[in-house]
């Protein structure tokens, strides 16, 4: 690893791409100058972004050609609208033709953009279908999660349809958000303001220990870059055999942890040394603590 610490969390989508890929190798598709913005937001008096909050294109990662998409966290919570979603679907469809070494998805989103709710939900389903086509073509789809919105909603499901996931300790992965659970089931069920609870339940370290994230990194673009490089060319088969293997692993997970009230119990059951201190541990120490935890097989 080289260079000074560069926070992934604090960077914009464009900065993340620029710092992740080989220097000056990024070429943007449908750049802002082409003005492909949402036709629906102006109707509701909302400002538009000329890239509709997602930056897509191709470039090189350690000399290998990749396609890349990065959701801009600051615009509409990184949420998926009609144009935003179609840019991502189109990129995945292009991957089947262009056959890059990988597709990198820098996901930073609350999910469906409610201002275009129906189009957003349908777009997410289309993205999901396109991911499966890319995987069918033997091209790895690598998800990077480490932004301020986390990876929520339907995109939280799509993220786990991909080959690999790299998450930082700042990152979160979930379908429902803490506020939604609290609104539906009450503060006893989930106190959305309890940050420690949010990260224990949905954060990078928990997802890594559960086997849902393949690699965990500190909040550093260089660390994400190195992790992504290590996954180039590593496509996972998606077959009856692999989903049956995944099914067995999920059944096992259910059996072992179904009655656990909190993540700390799960980590203890997994055999993590000093489970209560997981949230405080820096990544190198955390990896030591969890070194012997058996990794689940997923499809």
């Amino acid at each position: 690893m080289s260079g000074a610490h560069k926070s992934f969390l604090e960077r914009t989508a464009r900065q993340r791409i620029a710092d992740l890929l080989d220097a000056d190798s990024f070429m943007e598709f449908l750049p802002p100058s082409e003005r492909h913005f949402s036709p629906h937001l102006p109707v509701l008096g909302q400002p538009v972004a000329f890239d509709d909050g997602i930056v897509i294109g191709d470039g090189f990662l350690a000399g290998a050609k990749v396609l890349i998409a990065a959701q801009e966290p600051a615009f509409m919570g990184g949420s998926v609208g009609e144009i935003h979603g179609a840019k991502l679907t189109g990129l995945l469809e292009r991957a089947v033709q262009q056959r890059p070494a990988a597709v990198l998805l820098l996901l930073d989103t609350g999910g469906v953009r409610l201002h275009e709710a129906n189009a957003g939900l349908i777009a997410i389903s289309e993205i999901q279908r396109a991911v499966f086509d890319v995987r069918q073509a033997g091209i790895p789809v690598i998800v990077l999660i480490g932004g301020s919105n986390g990876c929520y909603g339907g995109i939280g499901i799509v993220a786990k349809c991909c080959d690999h996931m790299i998450i930082s300790e700042e990152g979160r992965l979930s379908v429902s958000g803490p506020e939604v659970i609290e609104a539906a089931k009450g503060v006893e069920e989930f106190d959305a303001r309890d940050r420690a609870l949010v990260w224990r339940t949905m954060g990078g370290k928990h997802r890594y220990l559960m086997g849902d994230a393949d690699l965990i990194v500190p909040d550093d673009v260089n660390a994400f870059r190195d992790a992504a490089i290590s996954l180039l060319g590593a496509s996972r088969p998606l077959t009856l055999e692999s989903v049956m293997q995944e099914h067995a692993a999920l059944q096992d997970r259910m059996q072992r942890f179904s009655d656990c009230a909190d993540a700390t119990q799960i980590w203890q059951a997994l055999g993590v040394a000093d489970a209560k201190n997981v949230p405080l541990a820096e990544i190198p120490e955390f990896l030591e603590m969890s070194a012997h935890v058996r990794r689940e097989e997923h499809a």
């Binding site: 144009i83 709710a117 389903s125 339940t201 997802r207």
Partner: protein, 233 residues
């Protein structure tokens, strides 16, 4: 809206073995000279880790025992299961696992169809229903992302403004007709359900045609164009 038993009787007048195990449906139906595998949910099921695992098991069982048979999803869901436990264990991996099972089934030659016979909401609909080759709905089916009052609270847009937009655009409000206009629902099954199913079975398309459909229906004119521009850049 229909009860699942009534739905199956109408879909399969030649007979069916669909039964409910809690909130999960599975079995088979005879139609024309085909046997169709059936999986689904009932009682507006909230789809979380448990139901996702059960549905996945059913799909895996179909792949192992009935090669190439069409699979019909019967959709009645209030959305994903909202609970601490389900997010702790992982709605993401469990719901993705269900999607992967369907995706593998498709690659193994299983035609995938879905029909919303009661309610279909958000993440539940994404996981059971929208993954099909084509999605249908019976008259009276309720399809939505979110109720408008909740949407108004979260977006801080006045409810009247959202209601006004709903009158002129299919883009955000509840309603199966909106999803037809946007290309996500192929059509509403108005006639005899067994005839509708036979017509659907004859389609045999496993490409995602929803963007083209949404453009031709006029509800979603941007998506198809943008995706094409990206492919051809």
């Amino acid at each position: 809206m229909l009860e699942w038993k009534e739905l199956c009787d109408q879909l399969f007048p030649q007979g069916h073995t669909v039964s409910a195990h809690g909130l999960v449906l599975h079995g088979e139906g005879r139609i024309g000279n085909q046997t169709i595998a059936v999986v689904g949910t009932t009682e507006h099921a909230a789809i979380g880790v448990d139901i996702a695992l059960e549905l996945s098991a059913a799909v895996i069982d179909i792949m192992n025992r009935q090669a190439g048979i069409p699979i019909l999803m019967l959709v009645d869901t209030q959305g994903q299961q909202l609970s601490r436990r389900d997010e702790l264990l992982g709605n993401s991996p469990f719901l993705a696992h269900l999607a992967k099972c369907f995706a593998v089934a498709r690659t193994r030659g299983h035609q995938l169809l879905s029909v919303v016979y009661s309610e279909a909401v958000s993440g539940g609909f994404l996981s059971l229903g929208m993954i099909a080759d084509e999605t249908y709905a019976v008259p009276g089916a309720q399809i939505r992302v979110m109720a408008l009052p909740a949407m108004s609270r979260i977006t801080k847009l006045p409810l009247e403004e959202l209601e006004a937009l709903c009158r002129s655009s299919p883009i955000l409000g509840p309603g199966a007709h909106n999803f037809v206009a946007l290309g996500a629902v192929e059509e509403i099954w108005e006639g005899p359900l067994d005839q509708c199913l036979l017509t659907a079975l004859a389609k045999k398309n496993n490409l995602d045609k929803r963007r083209e459909l949404g453009a031709s229906c006029g509800g979603r004119t941007g998506a198809a164009r943008i995706a094409q521009l990206v492919r051809e850049h």
